[in-house]
Amino acid sequence: MPEKIIESCNVKRLEVLDEKGNADESLMPPFSDEQIKKMYELLILSRTFDQRALNLQREGRLGTYASILGQEASQIGSAFALEKSDWIFPSFREMGVYITMGYPLYMLFQYWSGDERGVKCPDDLNIFPVCVPVGTQLPHAVGAAMGVKYRGDKKAVACYFGDGGTSEGDFHEGMNFAGVFKLPVVFICQNNHWAISVPREKQTASKTIAQKAFAYGFEGIQVDGNDVFAVYKAAREALEKAKKDNGPTLIECFTYRMSDHTTADDAIRYRSKEEVEAWRAKDPILRLKLFMEKKGLWNNQYQTDVESKAKETVDEAVKREEAIEHPEPKDMFTFTYEKLTQRQMRQMKEL
């Protein structure tokens, strides 16, 4: 018997906005001018927040911090497609997602300054605390999606992770569950090309990350992760699909970590300046600015206004955070269990 092809996979890549600010109108989501401006303002706010966090860390006013520089479009574009009632499971490099969802900025500073109260999610949002162990949030997203499906709720679950996360066992187990149970979950992989010092090529021999979804029986798509319109479009469609009970999607946002892994890292040890410079031209904010300028939505005055508003917002957040009283030592006991154990009560007295 002759051998025959019984299955094959094609991987789509979506790009809407190029580096010169030209958009493919046929693919352009139906945004109002106000929405485009809103996205631009979120991009600027996120970058301003990020820059301030790095500065505060250098001044010893913040702990180790993981910069989002270069990845803003992947985060703002995808989060812009989410609703407040959706459930979000981030990793540790998603400050742009928190900011887009309206998470209080001062609380983000509070978390990174080493105060757990900063990740107590406000009641009107369902965004989970920063997840430090890489890839371990995929199973939670899947379980929450099982809950959504069981109750028949019209919600979706978004799960963020990076290219490094795709090497973890929990990536496989989570993706597999999502496919088997056809769950309303959108996996958003920010392929920023570096997991600390290990390049994308050493995480996986797959040509793309998007194609991994194929093996789990659902769609994967690669988008230009520095193109806020493409990311939004892919996320929006995947979320709508999830809410119609048509199953999961993997979105690979093809982007780049412009900064060090964290403030405790020095990327110059393992990657070239040329590589970083080449990505600088693909900056997500720059290309949206060029687009808006052509559309008459951007001018120097607008830029100054947006920047000063972002600075003011961040200044206020820092001021508010730094005025918060140090947590009570006893606070470390309070949330271990619903009720303190006898032993904990005795231990607390030592403080």
Partner: protein, 320 residues
């Protein structure tokens, strides 16, 4: 009142809790049509459907992790890990997340779930089907560890575990599953978590045991005036009941199936030494599994503490 074995009692607890609360869902390998390899969930898929009795892919980490996600969403998942020797891939999820989510989110998100798993040697099972790794879980703040010793307390403790607001590891002795029957009432009753049970009062020596070792311990006492305590909950520990007894008897023998080094007996022993040292008349003795890789069935009976070994330890402390 019907006499049930532990399999039937646990099945009844699950069934009644599922009837009572639609949020209770089961998940695990083979828990659906097969009813689980020990038949604990037998018949439940027929009554509650595949949406609530979920046969999962073979993947322990995501079984625990998805249970966490379901609990975060407000369901009450009861996950089964097929054997305790297979729970290790799930430990990352249990330790890194289930135990911490209440604290990390300052109470905004909680993780009310139960992970049931059969533990212990003595049923001639293959490698890694016989572990008793309870101490690992007791070392992780945020987790509760429950080990029933009889059909009656298995049902009451499981109902309490399902209703508990915190994550519970529920360990079921494979050797006890079908080896004893007792009267188990229909309808709900709960046994509080965090409370030990004085099984037999006495004044000469305190014997501390849980799960299957309780029965070995009871076989060993014969005419000795021993006080026997079934811990039932290992974490949070009922220190009050233990210390009260030790202060009365002045002698302690701790019995567990897990290896001695860093076994839960070490914690009990240290607790007693810290809080009741001056009441002791004899050194604290531990009768435990050996510090070896658990042997395959031909040698397992030599590994598991026997009534004779327990008796010898009791005689030893009675010399003082």
């Amino acid at each position: 009142m019907p006499k049930l074995n532990m399999v039937q009692a646990i099945n009844l607890a699950l069934k009644e809790e599922m009837q009572r609360d639609k949020n209770v869902v089961l998940l695990g390998e083979d828990v659906g049509k097969d009813g689980g390899v020990f038949r604990i969930t037998e018949g439940l898929i027929d009554e509650f459907g595949a949406e609530r009795v979920i046969d999962t892919p073979l993947a322990e980490s995501v079984i625990a992790g998805a249970a966490i996600g379901m609990a975060l969403y407000g369901l009450k998942p009861v996950a089964e890990i097929q054997f305790m020797g297979f729970i290790y891939p799930a430990i990352d999820q249990i330790f890194s997340h289930a135990s911490r989510i209440r604290s990390r989110s300052r109470g905004r998100f909680t993780c009310s779930l139960v992970i049931r798993t059969p533990y212990g040697a003595g049923i001639k099972a293959p490698e890694l089907h016989s572990e008793s790794s309870e101490a690992l879980f007791c070392h992780m703040p945020g987790i509760k560890v429950i080990v029933p010793s009889s059909p009656y307390n298995a049902k009451g403790l499981l109902i309490s575990s399902i209703r508990d607001p915190d994550p519970v590891i529920f360990l079921e002795s494979t050797r006890l599953y079908r080896s004893l029957k007792e009267e188990v009432p229909e309808g709900e009753y709960t046994i509080p978590l965090g409370k030990a049970r004085v099984v037999r009062e006495g004044s000469a020596v305190t014997l501390l045991a849980w799960g299957s070792m309780l029965h070995r311990t009871l076989q060993a006492i014969e005419d000795i005036d021993a006080e026997v305590i079934d811990l039932m909950t290992l974490n949070p520990l009922d220190e009050e009941t233990i210390l009260k007894s030790v202060k009365k008897t002045g002698r302690v023998v701790i019995v567990h199936e897990a290896p001695k080094t860093c076994g839960f007996g070490a914690e009990l022993s240290a607790t007693i030494a810290e809080d009741a040292m001056l009441h002791l008349k004899a050194p604290i003795m531990r009768v435990t599994g050996y510090d070896v890789v658990l042997p395959l069935p031909k040698l397992e009976d030599f590994y598991i503490p026997t009534a004779a070994r327990i008796k010898k330890a009791i005689e030893e402390v009675m010399k003082y």
